[in-house]
Amino acid sequence: MALSGLDIYKLLPKTNCKKCGFQTCLAFAMQLAKKAVSLDKCPDVGAEVRALLEEASQPAIRLVEVGAGDRRFAVGQETVLFRHEEKFHHPTAIGLIVEDDVPASGLAHVLKGIHALEFERVGQKIGVQAIALHNKSGEKGRFLEQLKAVRAASSLPLILMTSSAATLKEALAVAGPERPLAYCHRVTDLASYISVCREFGVPLAFRASSLEEFSGATRQAVQSGFADLVLDIPEGRAADRLWQLTQMRRLAVKKGERSLGFPTMVIVDTAVESEAVCQAAAYISKYANILLLRTVKPEHILPLLTFRQNIYTDPQKPLQVEPNIYPIGDVSKDSPVLITTNFSLTYYTVLGEIESSRVPSYLICMNTEGMSVLTAWAAEKFGAEQIADTLVKFKLADVVSHTNLIIPGYVAMMSGDLEDKSGWRVLVGPREASGLPAYLKNL
């Protein structure tokens, strides 16, 4: 947990000897708290204090990296319980469970489904992160064979859910360099799993039955020098799992409880797909860092990925689009011109509707500093004057041969003023983007 300047001051020699280059120990402590200087500047702190300060500068929740290459992902290092307090940092990684007893033809089908789970929303690519290969057969040979087939067909990071440490060891002998996440289902097996994971340098998720058991197990692991851990919440009622997830986050972030400061994992193993989606949504809200599911249907995964994107958006920084004139479809000099703001949600909503209208159009994305239409209008970032200036700046007169400009219905009140200031004829579009296809078709 981060220490305040005063907390740090209490640990310093308090001699104000100035060897660090600061007038007082307190001044130095304040800079240390801001991480603006290194502790090494003070020659007089003892090893014990040094260790204490180093420990305190660790994040409350560890960062765990899974996979190698382009598809690798990191989870953890969260700092708050509510996104409005700062933001959520590392989006919940969604992994799909694949059984090792699925025959080759079935496997190809499943993998094809998984690979199709990539989408683009508001200019960002969103998709699933991992394949969790489960040793359902309990057999080593079957697992290794399936692992080979999955690796041949997919570059997604893997989660290896083997039923024994011996199987894991053989699996890592081939897949180890790809840094898969290993998984230990029984806390009693943890020591043998850890020794295998240490050998191959891969992270390990494990299941325990209670916070106390998790805490005891991680302490032991850390003492033995292995800390690349993920905590898998045991099966149980949704409210119990939410309670454990909340307690872990709270204890780690608010109380500096190191033994629970690890990323979490939740396996949603419900046969009914709609129930699985409901549970998954709840755990994306409340503190699951890795979420394993069985459904590979895009109509189930797309809403979950979209929700994850919503929740992990930085509340202080609305996503923005580069201001410009964007041609949509096969445009010509006669194509209609629409204008909107550069708040990405607004822009991409309007873009999507123009695309579905199939009417080739120009869309002017105006710099409103990421504000939506009405907010920007109220803040005088989307008023007649600013729009008129933008048309000149983007040389719209060179782009089209007509002089009609379509503005959002919500700012219809500026029509007259805008016509006066810009010399363009203003057409009032619909208030909601969803009205655009009908509007453009009837233009």
Binding site: R83, A116, E212, S215, V277, P298, T306, Q309, N310, E353
Partner: protein
């Protein structure tokens, strides 16, 4: 392990309990009344405080529907949508929604412009077709709502319905009517904690008790700004539990209304290869938005698709097993 691994928040205040519907003995005609609010803890954290009432699902029913609802939705509503009374009955009896949210879109001056008497007649018919509480929403045109809703309020005096929405610019007429006739109110604020609080103060200054107000925080659809209301609700609920009684109202979230305007809930599979089955996609778009709102503290979800209602209702039952 000397210290216990537990960090429980101690909250100083509960959310106000709002009761909807009145029985015969109480001066209404409902067989069932429903209560929301009363929470002394964050959503579903039963070990931390009282969570006495499950969140409710109100089935959206319209007097007149927009013509451009997606085909799959229309098919699943199976012609009901032309007959609001039958629609309301089915959503309660077959779909098992907790209550009905009747929106009087048809009174809008730019639309069918139905007169107050006709709207009032429909409300009475719905009340006799279902024995559960009712939410009545105006069309959103302030002058017309001020004309229509007081008439309905008076005609349903004593039923303890939930009327909406009042906004900062137009709250007096409907609030006065609800005070006089014993109803409760939905207070709408544009994704803004301060305005939500301000409006609650204005409404209560007119004389409406705090336990007759429900906050509409104006949610966005999944993928269309849902996170804004999500965080506003988390902030408001945190303030409420910490002692701000002017924010300690239950939330109503218009999930159906927002969901079914989105591209993802509407476009057929042929237009969006890779997005999966269009019907199921629309349903899950509504379901995931509802689940998100539940985690943010929603008390009443208004929802549209019968299957989405069934799925979320089951999920609520599971979540309430504390």
């Amino acid at each position: 392990m000397a210290e216990e691994l537990r960090l429980v928040s101690h909250w100083s205040q509960r959310v106000h309990e709002v009761r909807i519907g009145a029985t015969k003995q109480e001066g209404g005609s409902r067989a069932v009344t429903l209560t929301v609010g009363g929470q002394g803890a964050l959503p579903f954290l039963f070990k931390e405080g009282a969570l006495p009432h499950p969140p409710l699902i109100a089935a959206e029913v319209f007097d007149v529907i927009d013509e451009d609802w997606p085909e799959t939705l229309c098919r699943d509503l199976d012609g009901m949508s032309r007959d609001p009374v039958r629609w309301a009955g089915t959503m309660i009896k077959d779909v098992q929604a907790d209550l009905v949210c009747l929106k009087l879109s048809g009174t809008h001056p730019d639309g069918a412009d139905k007169p107050a008497a006709e709207a009032c007649d429909l409300v009475k018919k719905v009340l006799s077709a279902v024995d559960r509480p009712l939410i009545v929403l105006g069309c959103g045109d302030a002058p017309k709502d001020n004309e229509v809703l007081p008439v309905i309020s008076e005609a349903t005096k004593g039923e303890r319905l939930l009327f909406g929405d009042v906004v900062q610019e137009n709250y007096k007429t409907l609030t006065a009517a609800c005070i006089a006739d014993g109803h409760s109110i939905v207070a709408e604020s544009p994704i803004d904690v301060n305005i939500a609080k301000q409006l609650n103060i204005l409404v209560s200054d007119l004389g409406l008790p705090l336990d007759r107000i429900v906050i509409n925080p104006t949610i966005g659809a999944l993928g269309y700004g849902l996170e804004y209301a999500y965080s506003i609700m988390e902030r408001a609920r945190g303030a409420a539990l910490s002692g701000d009684k002017m924010l300690a109202m239950p939330f109503i979230c218009f999930v159906g209304q927002e969901t079914w305007r989105t591209k993802e809930a509407r476009v057929p599979e042929s237009d969006s290869p890779g997005w999966g089955d269009a019907r199921e996609r629309g349903i899950m778009w509504e379901v995931v938005a509802a689940m998100a709102m539940l985690q943010a503290g929603a008390d009443i979800l208004t929802m549209r698709h019968p299957q989405a209602i069934r799925i979320v209702k089951h999920a609520i039952t599971e979540l309430m097993k504390g």
